[in-house]
Amino acid sequence: MKAQNRRSWLAGAAALAALAAAAPASAQEFPTKPITMIVPFAAGGPTDIIARVMAESMSRTLGQQVIVENVAGAGGTTGITRAAKAAPDGYTIMMGHMGTHGAAPGMYPQLAYNPQTDFEPIGLAAGTAILVVAKKDLPPKDLKEFVAHAKANEAKINQAHAGLGSVSHITCVMLQAEMGTKINAIPYRGTGPAMNDLVAGTVDFMCDQIVSVAQQVRGGTIKAYAIASPQRNPALPDVPTTAEAGLPSFQVSAWNAVFAPKGTPAPIVARLSQALTAAVTDPAARKRLTDLGADVPDAAGASPAALAALVKRENERWIPLLKNAGVVAN
């Protein structure tokens, strides 16, 4: 009852704000003041870094600052919930990702938004490939041996992840579904502590984004079995793809994309989309991200239509997978 009251109050306030903003916000003038980009994770993580590189380039195109605001919590859904309720005037946008807009409906029964209907997609910013990594003295030499080892030692080995609903968690749920195993998952708070115990050999393996694992693989403190992308990555050219290594069905990328709240006027969406396209094709921004191992889309891949299709595809893939695995986060 109380929540409902508050929600209707919020809706009223949002409508008022929209009315107030509607008058001056014609597309020619947009933007006339700084734009807030909500990043639903703590500063310093992969999504935050991608958002900041994009925001910097978009600021130059739009002639107004794009300010990153970190609103972390509940696997990113806190920040996205808030951004979804913001006035749809183009001055609040968000950096969503595979978890918040792809997998969240499969994990959070009380999710306050629908990834397909509550947003105006602006475009894909970057994807980061997922690797299967293990402690350096785990016996298997390649992915095939690893799958056999995992099946044979299902009750003995441990998988680490960075917390319920994190990329490292749900991608490993997918890996296990592909391998047909149910291995003990050890939850950590964040990639740092999980990586610490993987380097120390306390846990046996994990899945995570290339940005988080590449340096450790290069330094030889952990080993990588495969990269779950169609091509090898220049950041780690020696790591085979899952297709090469014998598990072609395990294909997954942690994508990050810009959305605006539902109801943002089409000309403003177009202006933002144009700024994002300029950012992904900007050689300096592109190099910054590809140096970290991220895959940056081309202009077509960064279009609003391509993002809408991606969200739909990802929902269809993740929701049944997570429901079957019994992953519930709230």
Binding site: A42, T78, N184, I186, R189, G192, Q215, N330
Partner: protein
């Protein structure tokens, strides 16, 4: 000595003069400037300022200032960001001493005796000892990082979840020892702190615990809301209740500088605090928070007159402050040598490095020696600058206490609210702080002390996490806590400490019974 050659090289990186165009545009005017030194100074200065503002922590500040560093070269940017971090540690103590508001877990202990000293008119001495103790600890920790960084990393990796859990159990016993009065009251505060730490989503199943359906509580309570509410806001309420005591305090500010006696009493606590803080700082998972608590407990236990603690004992400021700064410094070790951030501040430092195109990893020392050694040398330079910034400021801070309280307290409250909001950009956190203020006032009125609750809250989350991890890995066997030698060692120390903490209480209770 290779290390000293490297350190010297690092110092040269910091002191390097770079030709800078100070008037870009039409008339360019190029002069050589020690850019890294200036960046270090700027970082230390900003850090001190935000540290003094309650609640605005280094995490929010570094996040806000990241865009400014885009134009700098990576070494300079990191030197500045590191300066903000340890500057904030320094500034945090100032607020803890002057107005009894701990912005971070590590300055909770400083409120105990530091603020008491301020009330006795000795704020200047407390601030000076905190600054000098921190400088000493920071200098020693810098050398430790340079000389022992790599071997110590191996030690940190030996710490499994079970060992961690046992260390935290030992830390909880410290919490009981922190209390001044009744052990029973202290134990109940520890229990309350542990309960508060269980609020939020379950680590493993995602089940919502004690959130009453509020999404804002899904990630638990923010430490700063609890600390600022239960200690800071409660103190303000008490001061407003009897304004006359407050005026007495501001009236009798004595010398700004510590006496000879103060120095003599502080020397050993600083040395011990430095050692404890350095060791705990290396541990992954924010072991540094234990440092000040451990140091305080030890000083209190070995003091000739433990009853002075909590009533303005300078040892209770000197030791924990040294431990705090040493830990802040050595917590760079896992990040610099392994590329693994041990706490949230280091995680954002890694993010900052990544934005500058350097992803820290195990090879950073060999691949980027200039950056690695430059940063280590900058820590020492930064600590020196903090001392230079802070000692002259002491007079100014002490004068702040003379501002009429009716003007001071609204300002403090306002800054607290801004600070709390800045952590997660959540208005809800400000309301929670207010609620904890009421709780803190109730506790104060009834003779319960908040410090044990706060440490239990911090340790509770870590303990649960490590307990669950250890039990999952051991497939449910409790033996894992006694089979591992490190874990067993901590458990034994914990039991011994508990017996020592309880014995005098039991004895005094019996005496009381007999006298009645």
């Amino acid at each position: 000595m290779d290390v000293f050659a490297n350190l010297w090289g690092g110092l040269m990186v910091v002191l390097k003069f770079v030709p800078v165009d100070i008037a870009p545009g039409a008339a360019s005017f190029i002069i050589p400037l020690p850019v890294n030194v200036l960046l270090c100074l700027m970082g230390a200065l900003i850090g001190t300022l935000i540290g003094v503002l309650p609640g605005v922590g280094p995490i929010a500040t570094i996040a806000m200032l990241l865009p400014i560093t885009y134009k700098l070269d990576p070494t300079g940017a990191l030197i500045m960001l590191a300066g903000i971090y340890y500057g904030a540690q320094y500034g945090g103590s100032t607020t803890a001493i002057l107005v009894n508001i701990p912005g971070e877990a590590t300055s909770v202990v400083t409120t105990l005796d530091g603020h008491q000293m301020a009330k006795q008119g000795r704020a200047g001495a407390a601030l000076a000892i905190a600054a000098l103790g921190s400088f000493f600890a920071g200098s020693v920790a810098t050398v430790i990082i340079a000389v022992l960084g790599v071997p110590l990393t191996k030690l940190a990796l030996k710490f499994g979840p079970a060992d961690y859990f046992s260390l935290m159990v030992m830390g909880l016993i410290f919490a009981v020892a922190l209390a001044r009065g009744s052990v029973l009251k202290a134990l109940s505060m520890v229990a309350l702190g542990l309960l508060l730490s269980t609020i939020g989503s379950d680590l493993e199943s995602g089940e919502q615990r004690l959130t009453f359906g509020m999404l804002e509580l899904a990630d638990g309570i923010e430490f700063a809301t609890l600390a600022m509410g239960a200690i800071g806001f409660a103190e303000i309420m008490r001061n407003l209740e009897n304004p006359e005591t407050r005026d007495v305090v501001t009236g009798k500010v004595t010398g700004l500088w510590p006496t000879k006696d103060d120095f003599r009493q502080s020397a050993w606590p600083v040395l011990r605090g430095t050692a404890i803080g350095s060791i705990l700082g290396i541990l992954p998972g924010n072991g540094a928070v234990l440092g000040p608590f451990a140091s305080y407990t030890i000083e209190k236990k070995i003091a000739k007159d433990p009853s002075r603690f909590g009533r303005g004992a300078i040892q209770g400021v000197a030791g924990p402050e040294a431990a705090n700064n040493a830990g802040a410094q050595t917590s760079f070790i896992p990040m610099l040598t392994l590329g693994i951030p041990p706490n949230a501040v280091m995680a954002i430092m890694v993010g900052a490095m990544t934005i500058h195109g350097i992803v820290p990893g195990p090879q950073i020392m060999t691949k980027q020696p200039d950056l690695f050694w430059g940063m280590i040398a900058s820590m020492w330079v930064g600590n020196l600058m903090l001392l230079i910034i802070n000692l002259p400021l002491i007079g100014l801070w002490v004068k702040l206490l003379k501002v009429p309280y009716r003007l001071l307290f609204p300002a403090i409250l306002l800054f607290c609210c801004i600070g709390v909001y800045s952590i997660n950009n959540q208005p809800f956190d400000v309301l929670v702080t207010g609620a904890f203020g009421l709780l803190g006032y109730f506790l104060l009125k009834n003779g319960f002390e908040p410090a044990p609750m706060l440490i239990a809250f911090v340790l509770g989350r870590l303990m649960e996490e490590k307990l669950r991890q250890a039990m999952l890995i051991s497939r449910g066997s409790m033996w894992v806590f006694v089979e591992r030698p490190l874990s067993l060692g901590f458990m034994i120390i914990a039991v011994v400490l508990l017996v020592f903490a309880l014995l005098p209480a039991i004895r005094s209770k019996r005496d009381q019974v007999f006298t009645e």
